[in-house]
Amino acid sequence: MSYIEFHRIEKRYGSFHAVSDFALSLDKGELVALLGPSGCGKTTTLRMLAGFVPVSGGRITLGGKDITELPAHRRNIGMVFQGYALFPHMTVAKNVAFGLEMRRLNREEIELRVKEALSRVRLEAFADRLPKQLSGGQQQRVALARAMAINPDVLLLDEPLSALDARLRHEVRAEIRQLQRELGLTTLIVTHDQDEALSMADRLVVMNKGRIEQVGSPAQLYEEPSNRFVAEFMGKTNFLEGRREGPADFRTTHGSLLKSSGDGPAAASCLSFRPERARMVPVDASDEPNLNTLEARVQLFTYLGSVVECRLESSTGQPLLVTRANTSGVQRAGLTEGARVKVRWSPEDSRLLA
């Protein structure tokens, strides 16, 4: 059941289209991530929902009600800003209480709700501190508590993890996800980090230059990108230029004939496959006609701990990337730099893209 609906939302600044033709519906309790490079319009969209950016065209409905013209302070939306935007002159407790005071709750009720909100993010002990006395991670949790204390209809998060260090990011990601699930809060997150998006979202919306490229579950977007942009944006991909030569055949510009799964546009101009779906075998290994094979020379290994990344160059000059899980220690049999190998992958893992 759709809870929030963006009906053909547009945002124009003069002749510049920041957001065009944005249509999306969110179900109640869903966590959706808007993902894309800087300038793609994701933050502008979020801010239109929050009410800080007036809409140039289209409508936004929340729970069936049209909120497009509603001023920001009358939408019951909780927002966590990039940079947290905590009130520097108020204690943590007062920060969290602010939204409740605006709703004119009585003193006891406010105290209770503040306590509850702070305990949910495990910051009860910091109630009387000022924001500047807290670490980045703590400030973020206060911002979260503040947004949730008002029992919002929707929770918005603008790049919530960008200011945190790597370790903290993992922890906080999980916390946010858990809280959101517990409370059944419909949530919209804006991020440029696809790991963040993949790990937190029920659905992803990839945006580029103000438009939606693709909407789907993390698996859908990763496994079945609908175009080159999405494929490139989500993780690493190998692209081989060429053209379709039949229902499942693809001839690369260098002349190799490869097989694909058959899906994809008729005028497909490239064949893509994920580095982890390919493997390297010795150059004299036996043929496997049902698999795609390219000869290549190893150029560089990058040891990343749990994964080993391997850059190669095919005999036709194509750059290739193969990654493998580090399941058996540093076993580099046949994988020295400069070695010649065959790169193999299944047609099922080959997607044709425009």
Binding site: A50, G51, F52, P71, A72, H73, R74, I77, G78, M79, F81, Q82, G83, A85, L86, F87, P88, H89, F98, G99, M102, R103, R146, I150
Partner: protein, 269 residues
Amino acid sequence: MKLPRLGTWAYYGIVGATLAFVVAPLLAVIWVSVFVNKIIGFPPTGYTLKWYANAWALVDFREGFLLSLQLALLATAIGLAIGVPAALALARARFRGKAFISTLLLSPMMVPGVVAGSGVYLYFIQIELLSGVQLAATLPGLIAAHVVIVIPWVVRLVTTALLSVSENVEEAAQNLGATPLQTFWRVTLPIARPGLVAGALFSFIVSFTDLEKSLFLVGPGRTTLPIAIINYLEWNLDPTIAAVATVQIFIIGLALVISDRYVKLSRAF
């Protein structure tokens, strides 16, 4: 910067000497104000506080002090009342000619006191000729002239303070349900308050200590403290005048110390 040893002595020496030079006149005045002898001689034969009482007994000084105080308070109040809104517009609004207006409002700082003073004086006289309303040598006239002096300080300090309130914080407040008015009152103003206080205090100071501009606008029985001091100094140099000057030092000093709690003083310049 780590300096070689001889250089270090020279460094500290120059710094110390310069700072001593800067502070010397003030210390001299304070010291002399408590000398026993009316004719200043060194070393002093003794110390006393009687000159302070003497100063207060002198009509010129007493009235000068009260007028300066009154003037500074009124000019500050009016300056805040019209300067803060202007600062708000400059800090937030987008409009053509903003640089022009900003320069206009800050320009009194650039116009020399004597030039501005003489201009205003002749201007007031012209108004008197045209309308019969006397402004020169009156309190309202002085207030009007001082408000002009005060505006640049209010505008500058308050604009800086308002600019320091991040847009996000105001949005957060509205997001949580505060109307724009409530946001201004409960978030913007409190965060900008240090700048407001500094603006008020600096206004007070520049009004109280003004000399060159007020010269033209004072009259018999209505003179400011700095001008009373100058008049006295043309004939006399004794502990009494030193006592009066010391009083001014302490008032300004107090205003500065209070300011320091609210704003990084060097930022005002």
